[in-house]
Symmetry: D2
Subunit: 446 residues, 4 copies
């Protein structure tokens, strides 16, 4: 719920107001309009840039697999801000945290996804965008309302917020809170995505973890007190299952592969002047021409632009674009087969699949797509090797011992949650049997 | 989750498959691909017509008030089908229900919202559509996939499904189950909307109500056994609070009023040939020209069409359309004031407000809008007067007594949940103080 | 969970410890061993007097109806203390509350049930005890550990805690928080009893109510801000249903009636020197002799004493005591019939029932018991008439208006939650048909 | 809730009744009084033998650590019966299960804990009882009401129920359902204990597991379909954490150690004729004399007998019994230190601790107790080595593959949930520092 709720207070004459959001995960998220720092947050939420996040789905195409996954980055971002406030309140009781640090941290939490565009995983891959860069640009660009509001509070606030997001802020635990292997971003999305998908694998004991977070005085880094070990194990397992069951779900990824093919085809048609169905003067023209976008133009994009064009392209003269768009829209997705073989065999298999695809009348550039998880190194279950030292999770060895260890050193169960690799080939259902036969034949032959 | 999960069975050779959906409200929704009736449901879900419901939000503009209200009619429709199956399984244990009746009832549950368009409350009001009529048309039109699948199972099935939805089916409790004051549609949406909005007012003891549903033998009508009285009271209270706090929320309704103004302005501009920003050859052209749509054209519409155009209209040459669209998009909503006065005073007040609006440079046709709840008679809290006899809720007086009473006769608490009337005036924030002063002045004078 | 969890803090050398309880209702209840006031609470919890509450069931005999109702007054009292701390933290942000007031309020919350004995409703009725008096006595008696711990912190603390419990403390909202129509005692027990019984009728939006509590400056009384009205309505309805479905449940009350008969018979046998099975030198001897108990003796009593003797009495030589005890133990409860007639008819009916009971060979003193709800005036659903001005619930009329109204003035739904009266006759199953026939006959005749 | 709720049915004249229990874990547990098999269950629940389970806590002394752990074996047993019914309904849809098998399985589920006595873990260890044997005896003994009710339904039913409990029943999956590494007993207690303790570690996706249970046709053994793998992993992890955090919690085990010392001291005093405070003619006399009990005598025992005597012994003339009893009652528990050293060092350490304990004036027979987890081999986290083939968990390798594997072969995460060993020394707090110093010294020296 969003609304101004006036409340009066003992001994005061003025009416003090509150901004309240009801949230399916956190229940009540409340901001105090009388507090200057809270007012910055309220004003940031009301900017067109932040309101735009209402029109960008948090999980992109996951709703093709889990129909409930319809929540937006707007809801998630409010939740992340709320958790940051709770963590700071908890830590602040024992550790001095400057007011300006609190404000920078909370703004960073609220704005951490401000640079996301529609269906980011796909669009970023195709167009070479990075949402982190766009995020910094939006915060620093003097033309945005977000920037103006931050600067009005404190001229250094935009830089500070970006520093928090880019891990250059000190004390360093502030950046860890918003972006590390155990941060408020993940805390929120695991619970929210679990609830919304109905998949249930992402629940863990948030309250206990928040209760056991501590700061190591010398290095200013975050750690978990000994009594929190089991809760962190549970959190990492929850995350592991969410990756296997939701974020890396086969159908989600074939949908993403299809969307990638649609974009590539549209770009190719645009390049050759053949893309007839495109809303003139819309930002999509520039996007498909791969022209650089201004901040304003980038901010004009959301899920509706992509979906409107895809719907329109189901009537495109180009048969490839038309076919891909209508398969995507009506959820007739590609099929996928796991490869997981050595490089030589891989090449052979793909070559044979290519011939099958071509023989069936499909253009392999758009209809035979490799899907490898190594494309997205920043995701995946926790492992100390792939996490920079800033990101690792430290746990106290014994209650009150002051001795910290990286969590996989003390938790054999977590050591076993190994990184999994995705190596799949995606193609239309029409060639499914033929390609599966080829892959199976190889296996038996091997 | 949606996926084929193969399972094998003792003593059988063939692999039997299941279609499973994970749901935030009902957890597991499962259909058996080996069962011919379930297969009809599976195939219906896979039609473009039903997949379209993924792109239509259940609560329309409620997300402006409750940001979590982002769920689609697709999720809700699956839930309604699931509840219908549960109720029929429960009743079927004691009351013979023919297989063909079960199938018609379950298809009707799944398809009860198939005629909904984007932002129905607004669009229906502006364009004179009725989603119930479109629903029947989609089911009966031989050109739709939905129709084809129903007919393939049984040539009378489309007619039967429509009969269930239109209360002409016998036994009559089947229609009551999908559309009455206590039906599986409401059972699902109260829980789902409560969860998603975070408003929490719509929870009630669903399991107990399902457990206490009975059928009166002579009239074939649905009733609740005596032991279910409190649960029904709680359900009606939950519904009452959801209306007050969510469905009739001031901000939701001012957002709807604004959307109505946008549509009206676009229609007016179209009529005078001045609407420049409109995607040519799109169905929106016909919509705004108020031309009749074919079923296929109607089915092409979803939230993306509306939102894409509104976004585009934020750059329209026409200042009124531009201003309304950008206010709507960035959530700078109209303000509203309650009138609730007699007819004469009402007319005076509106006249004075009109002058204020005009003096401030706004066109009152689009900027001064009356919002009356009597516009939506099919909604609102339960009362026996406004419900046809088919829709009323009957409760058994004493355990095993066979004597049924309409619920407000036995429950004083429910009698008090009176119908509330909305009588508001909506206008831009710029004239808020002036108009409020006028309304307040009258009150003091009175 | 109870345990010392050591945590270290930045820049400090000493290890600070925490006392943590995991709770099914409130999740984490945490006390800081380094805080002198929290340490008082920890030490109070560890007293034999408070540990005794582990051996006294919160809902007495309700488990005969709701088998899950097995929780103790210990768990409930921790929950009440926790809620008091949360409310004080919330109010304290806007209203100055002295530290000594906070401590008195929190100790009062923790100790509000310290005077409860086993199966209080029954035992108090039979023996004329009042747990409130015993509570004050335990807190003020210099011989108890509770008293000693309070005095060690502040010599006036025992008196202050009793003042809070007895509504003589100022500011007056402190007493209202622990004992009024909307207090932390009820906040906890509705949620806890709902969860444990599985009855589900007692859930309401606690977080929102806590969020909307305010203090009226002039009278120092508690009220609910306008935005909290619906949540308070829901709370009162939850409470109403819990009374109807749990606290006044027919089986619970017939079990209580039976326990009362057991006690009366044992007392009568004791008076005539015929009670052979009684553990010598135990406090039960004095109880059944109706001799006054010392504080120490009273504190020795718990559910085990009562249950052990009842079990033993299933072998008593006296046939009445034996029969009642074994009926009670094996859950062969009395039956009950509603009277609800005028005084004259009531007398006639009871007289006829008495003759039936006697004719069947039962002694009516123990086998024909009137059960009237007017025996327990301090319970029941909310009504302003039966609540002193200190106890009533006040709600702000409009947001920020400062105008308060008693809730039934503004909420028609709540006005309708009328007090219900219990007027039943309880007797053995063997005479059930005969007595029911008499009551029914009258009804038809009337 | 327990109550008869009359319901009438279409086309029938008689009133059919239902027995309903509301449950905090499973919500509604319902039995049909018109069904002859359900009626057996209803009558079994009403026996004195089963009602006795209301007076035996499910988790014994766990409430000293988690105060909410106050639920009885009665509630748990109802839950296990309910889950058995659900599993059989699920499996029965695809696999023919004879009605007599269903009845035997459901009775076995209901009665699986019927042989439990008060604080079984301790009492069984001290007295050499085995609750499984007592359970079989109660079911087979012609003098019990349980036996009589079973025989009245079918003369072979008692033998069949015992066969199910003792793994001699065929088809074998029936026994696996009630007693294996993944059975309805564990399914219920993990969820129930998690909820009641508030520890939250035992939640897992029950619905999904139930949904994926299958039967292998040739061996008639239970397995989990491939799609259920993650849910089983989660279940085993939940179980692992519940063991670490609840069932093997240090405080719970020191409380058990203390109770063991109390029993041993009472037995020793009884043997030497020195136990003065004992209720004459009570079964406790025979228990402490270690005389064999009749079924009737055994069934007379419950938590109240143990607790009543312990309370009484706080005034015993014997100082050891008095001290132990009052320490136990007021929760002044023993302390414990982990040993986990080789056998030789272990012996040395214990010898030194013994001298410390003696020097402090404590009798080491009662005040220095070794606590080793190997004492309870039937508990602990899952491992294939310690589970007989009947008990192991089998999972299908790929969807529809028919190939089964023991779960640790396919799940590295589960392989890592290793059995943990408890090797602790327990003693009074007064010698805590001295003994800890000795243990620490050794470690540094080592």
């Amino acid at each position: 719920m969003r609304g101004r709720a006036a409340t009066r207070f003992a001994g005061e004459d003025e009416v003090m107001a509150e901004r309240i959001y009801r949230d399916p995960v956190h229940n009540i998220i409340s901001l105090d309009e009388a507090d200057p720092d809270d007012r910055v947050l309220i004003r940031l939420i009301d900017t067109p840039e932040f309101q735009r996040l209402r029109r960008i789905k948090q999980l992109g195409l996951a709703l093709f697999t889990y129909q409930g996954a319809e929540h937006s980055r707007f809801s998630h971002s409010l939740g992340v801000m709320h958790l940051m406030r709770r963590v700071l309140a908890h830590l602040g009781r024992r550790y001095p945290i400057a007011r300006e640090t609190r404000l920078a941290a909370t703004c960073a939490a609220l704005l951490h996804d401000i640079g996301h565009g529609p269906f980011s995983h796909v669009v970023e891959a195709v167009l070479g965008y990075r949402h982190e860069e766009w995020g910094a640009r939006i915060i620093l660009d003097e033309a945005t309302t977000v920037h103006r509001i931050l600067v009005e509070r404190d001229r250094d606030l935009p830089t500070r917020v970006v520093a928090v997001l880019q891990h250059t802020y000190r004390p360093r635990f502030i950046s860890q809170l918003i972006s590390s292997q155990m941060d408020v971003d993940r805390f929120d999305y695991l619970l929210r995505d679990s609830l919304m998908t109905g998949a249930k694998y992402g629940f863990y004991d948030l309250e206990w973890i928040l209760h056991t977070l501590e700061i190591a005085p010398d290095e200013e880094c975050l750690y978990v007190a000994a009594k929190g070990l089991y809760a962190v194990e549970e959190y990492l397992q929850a995350r592991y299952y969410m990756f296997r069951q939701v974020y890396f779900h086969r159908n989600l990824r074939t949908a993403e592969v299809m969307l990638r093919s649609i974009f590539r085809r549209a770009i190719d048609l645009m390049a050759s002047g053949q893309l007839s169905l495109i809303v003139p003067d819309s930002v999509m023209v520039k996007v498909l021409r791969r022209e650089p976008l201004s901040t304003e133009e980038y901010l004009a994009l959301d899920d509706h632009d992509v979906m409107f064009h895809i719907k329109w392209w189901t009537k495109a003269p180009d048969p490839i674009l038309r076919d891909l768009a209508s398969g995507f829209l009506h959820r007739r997705l590609f099929k996928a087969v796991d490869l997981q073989v050595n490089a030589e065999r891989r090449r052979q298999l793909i070559e044979r699949a290519r011939r099958i695809v071509e023989a069936a009348g499909f253009d392999p550039r758009y209809y035979l797509i490799e899907d490898r998880a190594s494309d997205i190194p920043y995701l995946g279950p926790y492992s100390p090797e792939t996490s920079g030292p800033e990101s690792r999770i430290y746990v106290e060895v014994d209650g009150g011992s002051r001795t910290l260890r990286e969590i996989t050193e003390v938790s054999p169960a977590i050591r076993r949650l190994r990184r999994f690799h995705i190596d799949r080939l995606c193609f239309p259902e029409a060639v499914n049997d033929a390609i599966r036969a080829v892959v199976a034949e190889r296996e038996e032959g091997g």
